[in-house]
């Protein structure tokens, strides 16, 4: 009797884990943002969507103030090509090459208007964004963020 209860509990746990896993995979989104990073005194407030990334931007790029110029989120499809347009000037063509439980292998093409700036193949893990240091703009630096959520 205790053995059958134990087996039933194991089956329930497995089913729950599978359901949770498939639900997590189904709800994955790709998110991108165009950020202007500057140094100001005093530092301006950090926009809410960038709260998690501000420490890394400060550490890696050395800027204390961030402005969110645009952002876009959409479901991560496995279709051949998809477009992610956080701003009119800078946008991505996203190609999902491989989908695994913990991450996605993507080909990303970064465009400025119609000009291709960068081609990259990267493995993107959930909540571990890719920071792209773009061109200088005015007295600041354009930084593009792209990540899976």
């Amino acid at each position: 009797m205790p053995r059958s209860v134990f087996h039933r509990a194991i089956r329930l746990l497995l089913a729950a884990a599978l359901a949770l896993g498939s639900a997590a995979r189904a709800s994955d989104d790709i998110w991108s943002a165009l950020v202007l990073a500057t140094n100001e005194s005093p530092a301006t407030g950090i926009p809410k969507p960038l709260g998690d990334f501000a420490p890394t931007i400060k550490k890696v790029f050395g800027y204390n103030s961030l402005y969110l110029l645009g952002q876009k989120k959409r479901a991560l499809e496995t279709a051949p090509d998809d477009w992610l347009v956080p701003s009119k000037d800078f946008f991505f063509r996203v190609t999902c090459l491989e989908r695994e439980p913990a991450h996605y292998r993507l080909r990303l093409d970064l465009f400025r208007d119609k000009e291709l700036l960068l081609t990259t193949v990267a493995r993107l893990a959930r909540d571990a964004p890719l920071f792209i240091r773009g061109p200088q703009w005015g007295n600041g630096q354009l930084v593009l963020l792209i990540g899976v959520r």
């Binding site: 700036l117 960068l118 493995r123 893990a125 240091r133 200088q136």
Partner: protein, 154 residues
Amino acid sequence: MKNFESTFNRWLDGSLDEAERRKFEAGLDKETLRAAKTWPQTRALLKESSGRISLPHPDFLNEQIRRAIGKSPRRATAHFPLRRLLWAGAFCMATALLLTTFFLPPQNRSGTVVFLAETASPGASASAFQTPGNKGAVIWLEGMPYIPGEERVQ
């Protein structure tokens, strides 16, 4: 070796015949011969004293020993009790975690990794590296044309 041992014992007991004794003593060093000279006296003392040591009330003493053994706390006889196994398991898991954290290359961990970064802009270059926590990644574009502040970016 066993043969030597039996001959040696017989030599100590004095049961070797003359020829055997001479042959055996020729193979011994001086110190052994000197020490062996005292052996007959020692053997005589042991023979004399054997049987003299006797304990009074042997049954009473046996009973006391048995009781003392009964009262002493029993030790666990199992070599792998549950608690020890749990500690061993926890230790193994902690070791595995440490090894994974410190010795596995960053690209094998579950973070973001850049495999390729190529720029199409003339005069520009791209390099990639991990963020300080090794979770995210950075593509560093160098030599991109400057956008004047007056130009609108949206």
